[in-house]
């Protein structure tokens, strides 16, 4: 994440100002986390923030494998789920035996659960890399998810295992019953986990992880065993995923086999990839977006998972660097001052692209009501405009919007490409690598 060539400046002064900027970002984040519930105090917001926080830890842990070490995993939820189960068992045992472990320390046991499983299975899993590792992770994920239904004493069968988060010794007089206290617990762990995972990228181990990602062959010729590096990355990833799972178990006071499942693994992959794997803050963005979308879309439409899939495919095809990638792409332009070259083309492209997107949404919703007989009736409400799913006019409008929107939007996209060309040339002329 170092800058591209910058104009000549004294190294020490630049380093110091970079340090200040760096600490300022973390400080602002901390203040933001503390202040958030005061700005949005409703119960629904608190729940959302809690879930987003957990999602951030989970996605960051996933990026240790994907973005840092180049390992694509389809079964990451295993560590998350096992962390959750470790926590509920620990909480129930602590409450039953009266152990003096207050709730804030409990997520550590979640991390321990994730770490133990990663340590045991990770060595075998990381013997292969690339596509094969992805397949293996899928198989292991299925193995654990299926086993959870067999080992009922550990996993509680279909209904899972419940717990009571207020049953542990209180800290500062907090019972952790109210959602706001849970939010602060989660926010606390988000800060710790994020700082820890960021620090990990600044260690010798973290740097070698990047090297293994870029060129595993070469890494052997500088003295490192890629297998050991991948194994350690797997362990760390499992540790933090377990913490995330533990926090979820605390939040919902239950752990069940869905925590371990393929859907959960898919969601964290979505969040991390859509956010962007090449930058540390990418998964944070992705987690916020995906969780927010999930919470919001579920009430709006029955096929929200389809929209997820389409967004994901779109990102993979057109911007594999994710949202973070798109944002960072603009940084050289901002610093060179050529950003204003592209802004007009964005604005022009906005309308046709929106029409295209709305047409697609209308089409999908119409098909959904028409075929699946959801019992929700035939009314679609798009931005307050009612559409009747069975009326031919709806079909015509949808097709017109899609076709018309696409044809016009294509022209505007070409203009964006041209504007970018000019902007990047300008940036390069001023010495900023674009």
């Amino acid at each position: 994440m170092t800058d591209a060539a910058r104009p000549a400046s004294p190294i020490a002064a630049t380093a110091r100002s970079q340090d200040l900027k760096f600490y300022a970002i973390w400080l602002i984040a901390a203040i933001g986390l503390v202040a958030l519930p005061m700005i949005f105090p409703s119960g629904g917001s608190l729940t959302s923030f809690s879930l987003i926080g957990i999602s951030i830890i989970f996605a960051l842990s996933y990026n240790i494998l994907l973005g840092q070490t180049g390992l694509l995993s389809f079964g990451h939820a295993v560590y998350y789920g096992l962390g959750g189960f470790a926590v509920v068992h620990m909480m129930n045992a602590a409450a039953a035996h009266g152990w003096p472990i207050p709730l804030p320390f409990i997520p550590l046991f979640g991390g321990l659960g994730g770490l133990c499983f990663a340590a045991v299975i990770g060595w075998v899993m990381t013997r292969r890399a690339g596509t094969v590792f992805a397949m293996i992770s899928l198989g292991i994920g299925e193995l654990v998810a299926s086993s959870s239904l067999i080992l009922r004493s550990l996993f509680g069968g279909e209904s899972g295992i419940t717990t009571d988060r207020t049953a542990l010794p209180h800290m500062f007089g907090w019972t952790f019953g109210p959602q706001i206290q849970i939010y602060y617990l989660i926010a606390f762990w988000v800060m710790i986990a994020a700082i820890a995972m960021y620090a990990l990228t600044r260690t010798p181990f973290g740097r070698i992880c990047n090297a293994v990602r870029d060129n595993p062959e070469r890494v052997e010729f500088i003295g490192y065993d890629p297998h050991v590096v991948r194994y350690l990355a797997c362990c760390f990833s499992g540790l933090f995923a377990g913490i995330a799972g533990g926090l979820t178990a605390i939040n919902f006071e239950i752990a069940n086999s869905a925590y371990l499942g393929a859907v959960q693994s898919g969601l964290v992959l979505f969040a991390t990839f859509i956010g962007g794997t090449a930058y540390f803050f990418g998964p944070i963005l992705g987690a916020i977006l995906v969780t927010y979308l999930q919470l919001g879309l579920t009430s709006l439409t029955s096929v929200w998972q389809l929209y997820f899939g389409i967004i994901f495919i779109g990102i993979v095809m057109f911007s594999p660097g994710g949202i973070a990638g798109i944002l960072m792409m603009h940084r050289p332009l901002i610093r060179a001052g050529t950003l204003r070259t592209v802004i007009p083309s964005y604005l022009i492209a906005l309308l046709p692209t929106l029409v295209l997107i709305c047409g697609v949404i209308l089409g999908i919703e119409t098909i959904a009501r028409y075929t699946a007989n959801q019992g929700e009736g035939n009314a679609i409400n798009l931005f307050g405009i009612p559409f009747n799913a069975t009326a031919p006019s709806t079909w015509i409008v949808a097709i017109a919007m899609i076709v018309g929107g696409y044809l016009v939007a294509r022209l505007t996209w070409r203009r964006i490409a041209e504007a970018w060309d000019r902007a990047t040339t300008g940036a390069r002329d001023r010495g900023y690598l674009a």
Partner: protein, 315 residues
């Protein structure tokens, strides 16, 4: 007992051939193009649903021809407009594209046909018992499935070994870059191979649909097993995929048929032991652990022989 063995062997071989129909397409696509088609089981599912829908409209036998062609066409479109554009971003991006595709296809199928099983019936022509072994009637449709699988297998073998296209595909199995250098229109070959691979998956869906449950989660259930087959047999190896398909098909079929457990063999544990991991393992039947057996095999092969039974290529 003997009846159980014979029936299970028949069913196991059948399931194995079905797995091979799917894994052969997957292997050829992977060997040639370097992309592991995560959505392969989704094309299988599309074949089943198209087969169901077309059977309702025009009958089973026309559907048997038309549905795989449709699935193959969709496959070609995916290659042409999706994979080809993602190729420059690397194999991970291609794999993720097919992953997103699998997700989207499952959602679209759920949207159109719902989440419950659909009534995909065996065609009347084949709805009779082929023969009776001991006291069980073995359905003719299953024999039909076996026959179609074997037929396709033989045709595949002939095409691969005796035709020019087959020669190119064989070469690409081990040296894909070289094939491009030799001046073949790689783009068109890729599109064709991907389309044929998907069509094969579609055929498997059309014929398996009436026998197995046709439901929107069938891709999610079969997909992971398919990948275990590939890893177990060794990436890029058709003979490996064949052996692995049969092994896993037989093991799972036999496991489902057996109702034994440690409890049935050695008697129940002392009830005062209460509920624990030990009692769970003691009481679980082989049939209940049948779904996880392929994954246990996966872990075993990783420990013993990481490149698979007959693996030749690294990714």
């Amino acid at each position: 007992m003997l009846e159980l063995i014979v029936i299970s062997t028949l069913n196991g071989v059948l399931f194995g051939m079905l797995l091979f129909l799917l894994s052969s397409g997957l292997t050829v696509i992977f060997s040639m193009m370097g992309v592991l088609n995560f959505a392969h089981a989704s094309f299988y599912m599309l074949g089943a649903f198209f087969g169901y829908q077309l059977t309702k409209w025009i009958g089973f036998w026309p559907a048997l021809i038309l549905a795989p062609l449709l699935v193959g066409a969709i496959g070609m479109a995916v290659e042409r407009y999706g994979l080809r554009n993602t190729h420059k971003h690397g194999h991970v991006a291609e794999l993720l594209l097919t992953f997103g595709l699998a997700f989207a296809i499952e959602e679209i199928v759920s949207m159109i046909w719902g989440r419950s099983p659909v009534d995909y019936r065996v065609p009347e022509l084949l709805d009779f018992p082929a023969f009776t072994i001991f006291s069980t009637n073995y359905p003719a449709f299953k024999i039909f499935m076996l026959a179609v699988s074997v037929l396709i297998f033989v045709v595949l073998l002939i095409v691969l070994k005796r035709t020019r296209v087959g020669l190119i595909v064989q070469a690409a199995l081990t040296h894909p870059n070289m094939v491009a250098h030799l001046g073949h229109n790689v783009g068109r070959v890729f599109m064709l191979v991907f389309g044929v691979g998907c069509a094969l998956a579609g055929v498997a869906g059309v014929i398996a649909g009436p026998a197995l449950v046709t439901q929107s989660d069938m891709a999610g259930l079969l997909g992971p097993i398919l990948f275990v087959v590939i890893v177990f047999g060794g990436l890029g190896s058709l003979p490996g995929a064949f052996i692995a398909s049969l092994v896993i098909g037989l093991i799972q079929t036999f496991a489902v048929a057996l109702n034994g457990s440690l409890a049935s063999a050695f008697g129940p544990l002392d009830p005062s032991m209460g509920s624990s991991v030990l009692t769970d393992i003691w009481n679980v039947t082989i049939a209940q652990i049948a779904p996880i057996l392929p994954y246990v095999l996966l872990v075993l092969i990783l420990i013993v022989r990481p490149m698979g039974l007959m693996g030749t290529r690294e990714t």
